[in-house]
């Protein structure tokens, strides 16, 4: 689709974009790693939340600090910082998720200088009253920390406005997924992926200038139905940093109509209520949002959620797409697969590092899987 050049331009060199944004907007740029980072609070403080992904470059410097069995996201992010590529960042936020991110925080604090460093140690279990109280307490403390680091006081109205901004962004991203599911041929998987990924990097005000037009145009246009496009698939895993995977799936006769990704639906699902206590409202969204496997909301909630997505999206199969060495996802995989098997939903599992395996190999695997559906 046309009109997406701006997103592709940003993704071609996010670091360059970050530097320019800082220069033009004079805003502080705050790096973050996962969808449990309260972007609203960073935005309300007048700073820019900038999501960090792994590096596409070779990893040397980070090897001195991390074992080879840490995931490429963690090693790549540290590599970028140690190599001086992230010098435009004014701060970095480390929400507690997995052991590797926890360690990244400590290694980063001790080795990357010149920017502020904040941990947001959120609760791991999200299904009790005490955890809910703690979640609000931690986010309140985080707000104070951000205020003191950026030398600003965030008023209630400002925070509520920030919540509205992110609600709108999430709403539009959700509508994009809806339209893709209804008319799978209307926008390619890579295009959709690029919008989502860029939306975590780019200036959010600019995003809200262009995103509504794209969404309404797609909704008006209506595209070809599934019959002409391919077998409907859902993807599941942690982060997906590989736009090419969607093209390879499409060339093999499939189409991705939904996902359970941290860089996908888990990022935008759930609306934050506009409340008198906006921080408590942000906490409530985190408690209710579909969880990452490093969090606990019940023994079967993630499997139930995945099956629900498959049914809701009328998908015929699931592609598990994992980052190698991601423990929480690897531990959940057998039970998720079993839950799908029990419902007669076929699945395939792919584990990747920073780079995709050879395209021919992937193509063959996907063709075989999709033919079977």
């Amino acid at each position: 689709m046309t009109g997406l050049e701006e997103f592709y331009e940003i993704l071609k060199d996010p670091v360059d974009y970050g530097r320019k944004l800082k220069g033009e907007s004079r805003r502080k740029i705050v790096g973050y790693f996962c969808s449990y980072t309260p972007e609203e609070i960073i935005y309300a403080a007048g700073a820019h939340p900038f999501r960090l992904f792994g590096t596409g470059e070779a990893i040397h410097l980070a090897d001195a600090h991390f074992q080879a069995y840490c995931c490429s996201l963690v090693r790549g992010a540290l590599e970028g910082a140690l190599a001086g590529r992230l010098e435009f960042l004014d701060g970095a936020i480390f929400p507690h998720t997995c052991d590797s991110i926890q360690r990244l925080s400590d290694v980063w604090r001790m080795n990357v200088k010149g920017l502020f460093h904040l941990d947001v140690v959120l609760p791991v279990k999200l299904d009790t009253e005490s955890a809910k109280t703690y979640m609000s307490d931690v986010l309140r403390k985080f707000t104070c920390d951000v205020e003191s680091r950026l030398n600003i006081t965030i008023g209630k109205e400002v925070m509520q406005d920030a919540v509205r901004v992110f609600n709108r962004i999430r709403g539009y991203l959700g509508r994009l997924y809806e339209v893709k599911s209804t008319y799978p041929g209307i926008i390619s998987g890579s295009d959709l992926h690029s919008i989502i990924k860029a939306s975590m990097i780019m200036d959010r005000d600019r995003l809200l200038e262009i995103l509504p037009g794209i969404v309404t145009e797609l909704e008006r246009e209506k595209g070809p139905g599934d019959e002409t496009v391919g077998k409907r698939l859902v993807m599941a895993g942690g982060i997906c940093n590989h736009p090419d995977i969607y093209r390879i799936i499409e060339e093999a006769g499939g189409v991705v109509v939904g996902d359970d990704f941290c860089t996908g639906s888990r990022y935008f699902e759930g609306t934050t209520e506009i409340k008198d206590d906006p921080v408590a409202a942000i906490a409530e969204r985190y408690m209710a949002r579909p969880p990452c496997p490093a969090k606990h909301t019940g023994l079967f909630t993630r499997a139930d959620h995945l099956v629900d997505i498959v049914w809701e999206k009328k998908a015929q199969g699931v592609v598990f797409f994992f980052l190698k060495f991601c423990d929480p996802h690897a531990f959940d995989y057998p039970y998720l697969k079993e839950a799908l098997d029990r419902k007669g939903i076929p699945s395939i599992m792919l584990e990747v590092e920073d780079q995709l395996p050879s395209e021919g190999q992937l193509q063959t695997r996907f063709e075989t899987f999709i033919e079977m559906l």
Binding site: D119, V121, T128, L299
Partner: protein, 250 residues
């Protein structure tokens, strides 16, 4: 062969294996053999078994007369007896990645085949997972809670990167009360708080004694090596809050 005979032979085999494991230190051997025998014969004695992580608060279990069992120690035992490789292969055939923690993988596989050096751990009635040690235990205990279909209590201890904070203290303190409620429900009886306080005192005493034992190593030459310390660690982990642990370290 009748079921009773089968059960008897099963326990006999288990106990023999246990004795073989602990032949090194006589005192430790006796205490741990009794502990594992008790744990493995709870079905007859009527006591409940809880699987708990190494850093989890064991005192409330002792006060409730529940036998604590440590899958992490089991993972180490499996590794030390060189039975890990085949159990890890089993876990891989169950779909677990070979990159995952081998303690977790061998224990997860062991539960399904009752294998390993002591013929598998006694079946749990409940699971207590404290994540102060790592995030892996959360996933490991979720797997086992689904497999054994028993209640799981997650004791969530937020990681202290640079300091301890008041909101963390409040959260952890509230969970202690939730933990007691969980145990009361799982055991079908009320906690005897007088007994819990006594267990707490014994636990503190054992911890102080263990610290004194460790402190002896400031001397040159040190009276024990790091390996000795790992060896004698067993009771402060497994039987913290009991008279045996206090006596042993004294």
């Amino acid at each position: 062969m009748s079921l009773i005979q089968e059960i008897f032979l099963f326990f006999l085999a288990g106990i023999r294996k246990i004795f073989l494991r602990f032949k090194k230190n006589k005192k430790m051997k006796e205490i741990l053999a009794v502990y594992y025998m008790e744990a493995k014969s709870t079905r007859i004695g009527g006591r409940k078994v809880a699987w708990i992580t190494s850093g989890g608060p064991v005192e409330p279990l002792i006060a409730m007369d529940v036998i604590p069992v440590y899958p992490e120690n089991h993972g180490a035992m499996i590794g030390a007896s060189k039975m890990g490789a085949s159990l890890c292969e089993t876990s891989e055939s169950m779909g677990y990645s070979s990159d995952l923690c081998s303690y977790a993988r061998s224990d997860i596989a062991c539960a399904t085949v009752n294998g390993g050096p002591i013929g598998g751990l006694p079946r749990p009635d409940m699971l207590v997972c404290c994540n102060n040690i790592c995030g892996t235990v959360l996933k490991w205990y979720e797997v086992q809670a689904r497999y054994f279909n028993v209640p799981l209590f997650i004791f969530d201890t937020p990681f202290c990167h640079t300091g301890f904070s008041e909101e963390v203290r409040r959260y952890v303190r509230r969970q202690l009360d939730e933990y007691v409620l969980f145990l009361e429900e799982a055991c079908g009886k009320k906690m005897d708080h007088g007994r819990l306080s006594n267990v707490g005192k014994l636990s503190l005493e054992a911890q102080r004694l263990w610290q004194a034992v460790l402190d002896t190593t400031v001397n040159r030459p040190a009276p024990m090596s790091a390996f000795d310390a790992f060896y004698h660690l067993a009771l402060i982990v497994t039987l913290r809050g009991t008279r045996e642990a206090v006596d042993y370290y004294r």
